[in-house]
Symmetry: none
Subunit: 347 residues, 3 copies
């Protein structure tokens, strides 16, 4: 490790480690995907805020704009150490790309596993004027093609963010906590769930807005309840689709996090999650949609093997349409993964 590395964190990487506690996990001892997402986002917020203030521009705080799709490759357990390392891999004029690796480490056996990799996009907001986006100091690339690849990723995510924004408007607020007694098991309404949280001081950044990681942790929690209600087994987060953070959420707001199942394959469940914020005291502002995302869960046996999941019963036209859309996403992801595996096999 270099002299500077020994003395403190260098400018371009950061490492966060923490022992997983009982509160980080479900009853079976598997760490919630949301705990991992929260750690990832904290590392990303530190490194990107640090970078955005390294130039001569005005003081700013990096706000999470987007998290790319991430797969949870292996479950973590209570007592294991989560090692999160983050580095900046691309900068545009107004945004920063951070790539994060998470490894679980069993400090008793020494066994280490890659848990997941994630890519996050941050936008720097002026400390004195939260509506002003400041300029990002450019990073140095070791090779020209790194910059070109980064620019390509930047353009792709930009397009996707615009698209989601439009789709977002269409979405109807899900029925919240229906009277489950009158619902058939395995219908959408049966497992649909919500959480409500009053945003406290420790949930927020210096700007007084909720950390993206806090929001993602709650989203994963509600998705987990939906999945458990549907399956009645031990369930774990398998992946999260790209999440776009369209609107900030202010300290003191009440946030409602709602989840409904949209699709089931043989061994996975897709859950759509919405976050709605109600800044009910300070301002005359109305309740608004802040974030939405798709979580995929799998059901595990006691030995940790994936179990078949009960098929989702769709009743309304909307439910049937969403099921087909979910199937589309599922098949697309599957095809992409197979292509990657073939590519890897050829090399």
């Amino acid at each position: 490790m270099s002299e500077r590395g020994a003395a403190g964190p260098g400018p371009a990487t950061i490492q966060v480690s923490r022992i997983m506690r009982p509160d980080d996990a479900n009853v079976a001892g598997n760490v919630h995907g949301g705990t991992v997402l929260k750690m990832i986002e904290e590392a990303g917020a530190i490194i990107s805020t640090r970078h955005c203030n390294s130039g001569t521009g005005e003081p700013c705080v990096a706000a999470l704009a987007r998290v790319e799709r991430t797969d949870f490759l292996s479950p973590m357990c209570i007592g294991e150490v989560a090692n999160v390392s983050a580095e900046i891999t691309y900068t545009s004029k107004h945004s920063v790309e951070v790539q994060v690796n998470v490894m679980s480490e069993n400090i008793l056996t020494g066994a280490k596993k890659v848990t997941n990799k994630a890519t996050l996009w941050y936008v720097p907001l002026a400390l004195k004027n939260v509506n002003k986006v400041v300029e990002v100091p450019p990073i140095q690339y070791a090779r020209k093609e790194q910059e070109d690849e980064g620019r390509k990723r930047y353009e792709e995510q930009k397009l996707d963010r615009l698209e989601t924004k439009q789709r977002n408007g269409d979405v109807i607020l899900p029925v919240i906590n229906p009277d489950r007694q009158t619902k058939e098991p395995h219908t959408v309404g049966y497992s649909q769930s919500s959480l409500i949280h009053l945003v406290g001081p420790s949930d927020c950044t210096l700007l007084g807005f909720v950390h993206g990681g806090v929001t993602m942790k709650l989203m994963d929690e509600v998705a987990g309840i939906v999945a458990a209600r549907h399956c009645k087994t031990n369930i774990v987060t398998a992946s999260v689709d790209a999440i776009n953070f369209h609107e900030k959420i202010k300290k003191g707001s009440v946030i409602t996090i709602s989840g409904r199942m949209t699709f089931t394959s043989n061994k996975s469940m897709e859950i759509e999650v919405f976050v709605d914020a109600d800044p009910f005291v300070d301002e005359p502002q109305e309740r608004y949609r802040a974030v939405s995302a798709f979580f995929t869960y799998v059901s595990l046996s006691k030995e940790g093997k994936p179990l078949p999941v009960p098929q989702l019963l769709t009743e309304t036209e909307d439910e049937k349409r969403r099921f087909e859309e979910g199937k589309g996403r599922y098949l697309q992801t599957k095809a992409k993964r197979q292509a990657q595996m073939q590519q890897a096999a050829q090399h």
Copy 2:
């Protein structure tokens, strides 16, 4: 649940759900009554603050003034989901009545049980001037008699609050942490206990005062320690008498929560709990009694059946007097419950 309740978080109902974690429960896995009281209060604070800001008046935050007596009908376990739903059922000029239902749900079996029902009273305090009580926008009643019944409840609790305030002055601060070695088991002094807590930012509302739910959680925690010291078995909260919040507690205060056993029946223990606040830095204000209440606990076997409890040994005149008063409350509650059951049987 009414039609509106089913439709989602309208202006007048709210639903909060959360998975019970290890930190929410005792060593035997039974969720603390205090965890439930804290969730109930958070739901009540959200719905009443939202309602009080729905008119044209100045921004305000609802502060808990009183919780009516509540019975814990069945214990909850780690991994179960607590579903808390709250609705506003009456408004006076300066206060709001919230009724709350709590159901435990085993998301693996689908089994649901009513855990308890509670009634809370909130008073809206101006955001800019915490000593000013603002006016509450009136709610609409479906039937005239709902309003009349509400007004009756309002008058009753008002009377009771005045009475408790007077009684409160008499109470002597309990001895803290007696030297247990020198005390006989089953005496009052033997099980008497305290917790002392420094109030942090996350314990507080936007106004900088402790959430009523945080206080109740600590009260239940100390009552549980007293009961466990007396019984040496697994104990759970059976009921809480009406609690009045006379004095606010400011951020940064040190609070001492003390409990002493006052009465035992064959299968229950009554514990009196006091909360004293010491705003030790900011102000020349002296230590003051903020809240007091009676908690009833039962002892459970490993199969969850109520066990006989060792009888309390009273030594001093005061202890004997308090035992008789506790017996009075016990017999009164028992008579009331039998009357209700007979009434229910006749209908």
Copy 3:
């Protein structure tokens, strides 16, 4: 940074970073020394548990045995990032020495400051038998003299631990929560304070015993209350004397953390803190002294400059004796520091 540093945590160093939140700080926004101590101990527990399991011995968990004296060189603020890096610097047959550096980083200005350095000693306890100390795999030293210096530190701390153990027995349990109204300001009794805490699952290691860092955080919290009661100003931790962890504390215990002021210099206050554990349900075991330590606090003006502190009024013979002992420690530390500065000036 080396390849291994970038790729993840090597076997011999660890880096932990976290943004400081409102809950980590006092009302003036200064981060509690206890927050830092807790982070330090978590890093130490991870790295030493990892190391002790790297050989062929049986699975074990490293338990904190001792923290050497540490100075807090500059206060940290909410929103700053605490960067904690730890490395193993010596191993004896049954213990591990970990050295930790903490730097605060203002990610808006880029300013970095050394907050403190600490040395911790851990002892590996068998996972299956907590009373069995297992053998520590030896580390490799770059130079022979590193090993010799380490052995010297090891012998010194061993001696000191024995000594404290003897002294500890003499100490009398402090009066808890005196009636402040009847006490003169600036007496020992006036500022004497306690916290009482029920140990929950998230406070504990895999072995079911309280993390040393959790205990130190509570100790610093009570010392801060004592200092604030004495001064009525903004106070911060300046240093902590060596802390020895003689006795483990089991999950479910009630712990009483008590602090009393022992000495004041012109600009500092020394506070003695005791931790007593009461394993009140599980066992016939009596209340016992688990840890004790001396904390030094300073009072800061709004500009962050040290203020004069009111002199402690000693009343009893014991208080006068403890004051003189405190003065001895103070003068000894001062002399040591001056010697170090002269030595540094000569080099």
